[in-house]
C-alpha cells in the first residue's frame, strides 16, 4: 500500500504520561481505505491511548499521524468531521432514550432539522433498535447499548470508524451481530474501520489486517493468515474408534511427522506441508483400515503469534467464551474479497 493513499497513517507516534511509562512508544502503521484493521493487545498495551490520539482527544507527545488525510494535531476539527467513534464502554446517558441520543448527536453534528428525524429512524432500523427507540437507555442490555453506540458514531456519515473494544462484556449473540454490522460497513460501504480488541477471535474473524501491540509497541503486523503462517504449520489430531489402536495410529502418522500422543488414544501430528497433507493422511488411514472417531485440523492461533512475539500468552487475559452454536465462531461475517 502506498502510504499516501492511506486512510490512517501513523509515524513514530508516542504518548508519554507524567510519572508513567510510555503508553505508546513510537508506533508506525497504515490502514487502507475500506480496510478493517484490528489492533490487538492485552489491557494496558496502549490500544485505547492510540485511539484517543487518532480521534484527536489526546495530543501525542511526539510523532505524526493523519486520519482521512488530515493531521491529527493541526487539523483536529477536520479529522473529527471525517471520523465516527465508539470509545471504550458505551458512553450513553441512561436518562435519555435511544432516539433522543441520536437526535442530540445529529443536532450537534450540524444536521438540519428536517433531516435529523429521518436519519435517526434509519439508523434505529439499521441497528435493530426501532422498538426500543423511545425507551430510556438505562434499561437497555449491553448489546443494545453497543449497537446504539455504533449508530451514534454513524450519524454524520463518517468515512472512518474507530471502535475501541466494541464487544467487551457482550454475550456471544450480541457480539456476532455487531461483527456482522461492522463487516458490512467495511465490505459493503467501503468504510475504514480501526478496531481495538483484546479478543483473539474478534481480530481473527473480523480484521483484514492485525497489528499486535504490547507495552506500547507494535510487535507484529499482517493478515491473520500471514501472522499465523509466520510461526508454524497446522497440525491434525486423530482419534481412533478403537482406543487400543493408538500404537498403530502413531506408527502410521509418523510417516508425516513426529507424532504426539494426547491420551485417550488420540494422536497429533504436525503438517509441515500444510493442509494439503490432510487428504494423504485420510487415504493412509483408510488403506490401513484404521477407523477414525474424529479428525481435527488445528491452525496456529493468534495467541500462538502473540506468544512467539512477546513470550507471553494473550489467551486468558479476557478472551470471551466461545459458543459453538454462534455463527461468529464458524466463519468471517460478510467476508468478501476486495481488489485492493
Amino acid at each position: 500500500m502506498s502510504h499516501g493513499d492511506a486512510a490512517i497513517e501513523v509515524e513514530q507516534l508516542v504518548r508519554e504520561f507524567r510519572k508513567g511509562p510510555r503508553a505508546v512508544d513510537g508506533i508506525d502503521l497504515a490502514v487502507s481505505p475500506g480496510e478493517i484493521y484490528g489492533f490487538l493487545g492485552p489491557n494496558g498495551a496502549g490500544k485505547s491511548t492510540t485511539v484517543l490520539m487518532l480521534t484527536t482527544l489526546l495530543p501525542p507527545t511526539s510523532g505524526r499521524a493523519t486520519v482521512g488525510g488530515f493531521d491529527i494535531v493541526r487539523q483536529g476539527s477536520q479529522v473529527r468531521s471525517t471520523i465516527g467513534a465508539a470509545l471504550q464502554e458505551a458512553a450513553l446517558d441512561p436518562i435519555l432514550t435511544g432516539r433522543e441520543h441520536l437526535l442530540l448527536q445529529a443536532t450537534l453534528q450540524g444536521i438540519g432539522r428536517t433531516e435529523r428525524t429521518g436519519r435517526a429512524d434509519a439508523l434505529l432500523v439499521r441497528v435493530g433498535l426501532t422498538e426500543a427507540a423511545d425507551r430510556r437507555v438505562g434499561g437497555y442490555s449491553g448489546g443494545m447499548k453497543r449497537r446504539l453506540d455504533l449508530a451514534l458514531a454513524l450519524v454524520h456519515g463518517p468515512r472512518i470508524l474507530f471502535l475501541d473494544e466494541p464487544t467487551t462484556g457482550l454475550d456471544p449473540q450480541s457480539r456476532a451481530a455487531l461483527w456482522e454490522e461492522v463487516a458490512r460497513l467495511a465490505h459493503d460501504e467501503g468504510m475504514t474501520v480501526f478496531l481495538t480488541t483484546q479478543y483473539l477471535e474478534e481480530a481473527d474473524v473480523l480484521a483484514d489486517r492485525v497489528g499486535i501491540i504490547d507495552h506500547g509497541t507494535i510487535v507484529a503486523e499482517g493478515t491473520p493468515a500471514q501472522l499465523k503462517a509466520e510461526i508454524g504449520s497446522p497440525s491434525v489430531e486423530v482419534s481412533p474408534v478403537d482406543a487400543d489402536a493408538d500404537n498403530r495410529l502413531a506408527e502410521l502418522l509418523a510417516g508425516f511427522g513426529p507424532p504426539t500422543r494426547n491420551g485417550r488414544g488420540s494422536v497429533t501430528v504436525q503438517l509441515p506441508g500444510g493442509e494439503a497433507q490432510l487428504a494423504d493422511i485420510v487415504r493412509a488411514l483408510d488403506q490401513a483400515d484404521l477407523r477414525m472417531a474424529s479428525l481435527q485440523l488445528h491452525q496456529p492461533s493468534l495467541d500462538d503469534v502473540f506468544l512467539a512475539k512477546t513470550g507471553r500468552k494473550l489467551e486468558g487475559t479476557g478472551d470471551p467464551p466461545v459458543d459453538d452454536d454462534q455463527p461468529a465462531a464458524t466463519g468471517r461475517p460478510g467476508r468478501r474479497r476486495r481488489g485492493r
Binding site: T55, T56, L57, L58, P59, I72, V73, R74, G76, S77, R80, S81, I83, A85, L87, Q88, E89, A91, L92, D93, I95, L96, E100, L104, Q105, T107, L108, Q109, G110, I111, G112, E115, G118, R119, D121, A122, L123, V125, R126, V127, G128, S141, M144, R147, L152, L154, V155, H156, G157, P158, R159, S174, A176, A177, E180, E181, R184, E189, G190, M191
Partner: protein, 280 residues
C-alpha cells in the same frame, strides 16, 4: 437479539459519503445541550424532590423552634418565618450546585463528555447548556419556596414586583452556585469532588446572618465572620425583599455578590472546560 439484515437506509443515514454537514451555531448548540440537561433534571424526580423538601423541612423546624427570637429587641419582624424564608432560597441554591456539578461529573466519568467532544460542540455551549437543567431546577425551587412561604403566612413586603425581583435574585444565586458545581466537576472530573464542597458551603451558610441579623449577633468573632462572609449579603438581599420592602443597599449588595459569584465561577469553569475539553 440480532441486528437487522443489511438493508438500504435513508439519505445519508450513517453511510459513507453522506452529505457533509456544517457546525451548528452557538445558540443551536446551547439549545441542544440545554434541552438534554432540562430533560435529565425533570426525569430524575428523586433528585428534584430532595432539594425541594430538605430546605422546607428546616424552614418548618426553624419557623416554630426559633420564633422566640422575634422577641429580641431590634429583630426586624414579628414572624420568624418571614426571616427564615430567605435561608430556604439559599439552601436550595446550594443543592442546585450539587445537581449541576454531579451531572457534569457523571458525563466525564462515563465518557459521554468525550462523545460530545467529538462533535463540533464549543466548550462555552457545553457549559451554558449543561447549566440549563440547573436553571430549571432553580426556577421550580423559587416558585415552590415562595408558594410554601406565602401559604404559611409569610408576607412579601415588596409586593408583586418584589416577588419578581426575589425570584430573579434567587435564580442568579442558584446559577452562581451551579457554575461552582460545574467548575469542580470540570476541575476534578468526579462526583465525589462536587459533593465534597457541599458541607463547606453549608458551614459558610451557618457562619452568616442566616439565623440572626448581624447587628443582633452578640459573639464578636461570629459577627465579624458573618460580616466578611458574602453569604450574608446574598441572604440579606433576598430577606430585604421579604421583610423590609425596597432596600437599595441590601439589594445592591445581594445582586452585586450574586453577579460576582456568577462571573467568577463561570469564568473559572470556562477555563476548566477549555482544559478538560482537550481536542487538537
Amino acid at each position: 437479539m440480532t441486528i437487522s439484515p443489511p438493508r438500504p437506509v435513508g439519505p445519508g443515514a450513517g453511510v459513507v459519503g453522506a452529505e457533509p454537514s456544517s457546525a451548528p451555531g452557538l445558540v443551536a448548540q446551547v439549545a441542544a445541550v440545554g434541552r438534554r440537561s432540562v430533560t435529565r433534571t425533570l426525569r430524575q424526580r428523586g433528585l428534584l424532590i430532595f432539594p425541594l423538601v430538605f430546605p422546607l423541612i428546616l424552614f418548618a423546624i426553624n419557623g416554630s423552634s426559633l420564633s422566640a427570637a422575634t422577641k429580641i429587641p431590634g429583630f426586624p419582624t414579628s414572624n420568624y418565618r418571614d426571616f427564615a424564608l430567605a435561608l430556604v432560597f439559599i439552601q436550595g441554591s446550594l443543592f442546585v450546585s450539587i445537581s449541576a456539578g454531579t451531572d457534569l461529573a457523571r458525563d466525564i466519568e462515563t465518557g459521554f463528555f468525550n462523545r460530545l467532544a467529538l462533535t463540533p460542540l464549543r466548550g462555552e455551549a457545553l457549559l451554558i447548556g449543561q447549566l440549563g437543567g440547573a436553571f430549571v431546577l432553580a426556577c421550580i425551587e423559587a416558585v415552590v419556596y415562595l408558594l410554601v412561604g406565602i401559604a404559611t403566612g409569610v408576607v412579601i413586603a415588596s409586593g408583586v414586583a418584589g416577588v419578581v425581583v426575589l425570584m430573579a435574585l434567587s435564580i442568579l444565586i442558584a446559577f452562581g452556585f451551579a457554575s461552582l458545581g460545574a467548575l469542580l466537576a470540570l476541575r476534578f472530573g468526579t462526583g465525589e469532588a462536587v459533593q465534597a464542597i457541599f458541607p463547606l458551603l453549608f458551614v459558610s451558610l451557618f457562619l452568616s446572618s442566616s439565623s440572626l441579623p448581624r447587628n443582633l449577633i452578640k459573639v464578636n468573632w461570629f459577627r465579624e465572620v458573618a460580616t466578611y462572609n458574602p453569604m450574608s449579603y446574598l441572604i440579606e438581599g433576598v430577606r430585604s425583599l421579604i421583610i423590609t420592602g425596597w432596600d437599595a443597599r441590601a439589594l445592591a449588595l445581594g445582586f452585586g455578590f450574586a453577579a460576582l459569584l456568577v462571573l467568577i465561577t463561570l469564568a473559572l469553569a470556562n477555563a476548566a472546560m477549555k482544559s478538560r475539553l482537550v481536542r487538537t
